[in-house]
């Protein structure tokens, strides 16, 4: 198998990625031929994404290792790919009106969203350190550029530079950890690494490698103490990009983290459980407490997004199939509510209003009841109040911890989720109770309405009837078992 080279089947198994790549190139070509035709690149990228979704349905239920053991085309990869694609669709839908208001030329904006998605898809299905790394870099480089896309805006530039420098640094740490793993096992393949690590047992080089990789991935998921870039980047980047960064990039990094730690490093699980236990506690607590003091919604959502990484880490600490399921369930549900919240912030951006300060939300209810009700749902869902989807995510997370006897962790998580309501509800206070401020009319364009519709339906429907997600996530996590 090692020397078989690529066969036709390998191309078949990466068909979704191929469709996406071709589509992305077409979008780039359109931009090259017809300068600044947002009305062409926007539908082209939507069609590309939807086409990829359609092709992806061919691979539901498939479980093979393709490309000479580099890629696993399994349920785990597929559920994450669906997540990235839906998130990308929502992001694109949010973007067109926003770009017009910001008066930036769309150019390669859509192309970069597509390439970022491509990178994520490889991160979810790769089972080889090198392939994982290439996927990660494809995604990260696209985001470095996207974060600085508002060229005249200082904060956007700062975001891009900061993200790039800290991202490069974290990549270095990650690569160092990976090279140590290679030293331990003599392979970059996760299943071969697993065998070597199992043989070596606890302690030693593998643990150091795990910590370095954990730290590197900690940067990507914005876990405390590796979170410093997140608030500035989230605030400065174009809002739809912030949304995609906080949902897509985070989910992809968690997918990669699960692959490496569960499939490759399960032999030293007790060691990394301790590491992630502390990471989870710090991430939840610091994220939530810092979020309380924010007056800028994007910063607040940045810290809240950090806190949510902490909840997902609880699922990883649990170290069971129930834990992985919890992480997947939470990431899927989180995608809907977080994208929705950012969709509202994007919508508030008008020519005369920046719309990302809390006070810009004042009296939103009287100006646009639909937007205010939607935002209420997203905030309650992020806070984990039933009957919204966020609650169903929390059930899994806390359940996974309690099941394995991580009582302290569960209590810290539960108290944190109560604390988080303090700042989520403040958003609601501004929208529903404070008097309105002046500003031009809020219009909800069809594309934005679709984005809001998708996220709102997801946030409510999966709160009342979460069974489909639970089932799929349980099936997906079964593929992870070492």
């Amino acid at each position: 198998m090692q020397n078989a080279g690529f066969v036709a089947a390998d191309f078949y198994y990466i068909l979704p990625e191929i469709v996406l790549t071709v589509g992305a190139l077409v979008v780039l070509l359109i931009d090259l031929v017809f300068k600044d035709r947002d009305d062409l690149t926007f539908p082209a990228s939507l069609v590309t994404l939807l086409g990829t979704v359609a092709v992806l349905f061919l691979f539901v239920g498939v479980d093979v290792t393709a490309s000479r053991g580099l890629l696993a085309i399994d349920g785990f990869a597929t559920i994450f790919k669906f997540l990235f694609l839906v998130a990308a669709v929502v992001t694109v839908l949010m973007s067109s009106a926003y770009l017009r208001v910001e008066r930036v030329r769309a150019g390669e904006y859509y192309f970069l969203i597509l390439t970022a998605t491509l990178g994520m898809m490889f991160m979810a299905s790769a089972v080889d350190l090198i392939t994982l790394f290439i996927g990660l870099e494809t995604m990260a480089v696209s985001f470095y550029i996207l974060a600085g896309f508002l060229k005249p805006n200082q904060r956007s530039n700062e975001a891009a530079v900061k993200y790039y420098l800290l991202g490069a640094f974290s990549t270095g740490v990650l690569l160092y950890g990976m090279s140590l793993l290679y030293a331990v096992s003599g392979s970059t393949n996760l299943s071969e690494i697993a065998v070597a690590v199992d043989a070596q047992g606890s302690g030693g080089l593998a643990v150091l490698a795990a910590i370095l990789i954990g730290a590197g991935m900690g940067f990507k998921v914005a876990a405390v103490p590796f979170h410093m870039w997140a608030p500035d980047v989230y605030e400065g980047a174009p809002t739809p990009i912030t949304a995609y960064l906080s949902v897509g990039s985070k989910a992809a990094a968690f997918a990669m983290l699960l692959r490496i730690f569960v499939e490759g490093l399960s032999g030293i699980m007790p060691d990394w459980q301790v590491f992630f236990w502390w990471l989870a506690v710090l991430t939840m607590t610091v994220g939530n407490i810092a979020a309380i003091t924010q007056s800028n919604i994007k910063r607040m959502l940045a810290y809240s997004s950090i806190a949510h990484s902490g909840y997902v880490l609880i699922g990883i600490v649990a170290g069971t199939s129930r834990g992985w399921t919890a992480a997947i369930v939470y990431l899927v549900i989180y995608a809907f509510m977080q994208l929705g919240a950012f969709a509202i912030v994007t919508m508030l951006r008008r020519r005369d209003v920046v719309g990302d300060e809390l006070k810009d939300l004042s009296g939103l209810y009287s100006r646009s009841p639909v937007a205010a009700i939607a935002m209420l749902v997203f905030m309650l869902s992020l806070g984990g109040i039933p009957p919204t989807a966020g609650f169903m995510g929390k059930i899994w997370i806390f359940g996974a911890a309690i099941d394995q006897g991580f009582i302290a962790l569960a209590i810290i998580g539960a108290v944190n989720s109560a604390i988080s309501l303090f700042y989520y509800i403040r958003v609601v206070v501004f929208m529903w109770i404070k008097d309105e401020v002046m500003g031009s009319e809020i219009t909800i364009e069809p594309a934005m309405a679709t984005a809001l519709g998708i996220t709102l339906v997801g946030s409510i429907l999966f709160g009342v009837y979460p069974e489909p997600i639970f089932e799929q996530a349980q099936a997906a996590s079964a593929f992870l078992l070492p």
């Binding site: 009957p387 309690i402 303090f422």
Partner: protein, 525 residues
Amino acid sequence: MPLLSLILFTPLVGAVILLFVNKHSKNAIRWIANAFAMLGFLVSVPLWFVYDTQNPGWQLVERHSWIPSIGAEYFLGVDGFSVLLILLATMTGVIAMLSSWTAITMRVKEYYIFLLMLQTGMIGAFVSLDFLLFFLFWEVMLVPMYFLIGIWGSDNRLYSAIKFFLFTLVGSVIMLLGILAVYFYNHQVTGVYTFDITQFHELNMPFDLQWWVFLAFFLGFAVKVPMFPFHTWLPDAHTDAPTAGSVILAAVLLKMGTYGFIRFSLPILPEATAHFVPMIVLLSIIGIVYGALVAMAQHDWKRLVAYSSVSHMGMVTLGLFALTPVGITGSIVQQLNHGISTGALFLLVGIVYERRHTREISEYGGLSKVMPVYAAVFLIMTMSSIGLPTLNGFIGEVLILQGVFVVNKVWAAFAATGIVLGAAYMLRLYQQTMFGEVTNPKNEKLADLNLREFCTFAPLLFLAVWIGLYPKPFLDRLETSVDHVMVRVNSDYTPRLAVLKGGTVVLDGDRGLDASPGPIRGGAR
């Protein structure tokens, strides 16, 4: 016919319909909301008659698959206790809607939508036999109540609303962890993932686990009751809430906590319950005396009533944790009484507040001369609150005292102190506001109760007298519920009904079951 679902969703349907009504047609909104509250009450009335007092199982059971992958079900059912609380909730709903007709003039549409949503949340908590479903409704109540206080409340409304929200939320998330612990223990023992409460009632968990879970549940329920020292949100929330909010809060929401103790803590965790009795009794006694003393010191009419709630709810938990059948029965009756009398007292404050926009007791005086009907209603409700014989309060207090006395005479003595102090602050309030000359010229032209206002009191007056003179129908309905709890907390206890029925328990529907000789474990299943 799925009666419970009908009762549960009628208010929600009303809320959804209101969403589509133009927000400027305020009277139409008021009519629709009141109509749905009344409809909700009317569909719940059959419960009183359909409920079979001779059947110790869960009745009117509805069971459907909901989230099979974690074993959660849409599982509804009632016993006598929940029947009474549901009726209390639907009746309070009607009263709350009716009392808001003129008091709420801004953002009318949202107001009634939130009230109706709250109604569904409360009923849902009382009918759920699935622990996850229960928790869902339990938390759903928070948001509408938050808005009711935060938007339509008085002075410090934002502070009070967030305090209410966060206190209850911290309690309930910890409770959720307790629920999950029971869920996983049940799976460990039976191999089945389920949130079925009737199944949990049959578990015999090890004491260590019970101990932890009891504390987790306790935090959730004690905040809601509220028990000392978790009561501090209550005076603020009550004082700043609009009248209807206070009425619902006092009459129904506080009962969630005691309902939780009776439905979950006692039967699921009997050994831990016995272990924690001294602590809870101590907190209850502190609550009784402290609540009463602080009530005495209040200048604010509404705050006084709020603190009296703390004292009265202390009585309720004391009677409950005496763990005697009489004490538990008294505790439940007293919960209804508290709903009736304190609900009415908040309505009464609301009426003068709507006319004068002040709650300072010193602003009033001699009102019995200008508002004779009001004064008469107030008098009856004061007497009901302090437990005058022939009114409802007396029945509850006597039962509680009797139930507590056989266990510990000192506890009973403290409980009696609470009654004496209760008389002191209530009579003082009555005297200062109603008797004497009208000293404040602003009070000279106050209008007496109009027909609509009187209608809000009529059912409460009727119930106060009914329970006071002939409580038997209520006690009959509680018998099996109390037995159900007693057989779990006291293994020597022989339920009255099982003897009567010769050991055969017949469930509602066709799922018959032969009970093994001896005490019935858990009722259904």
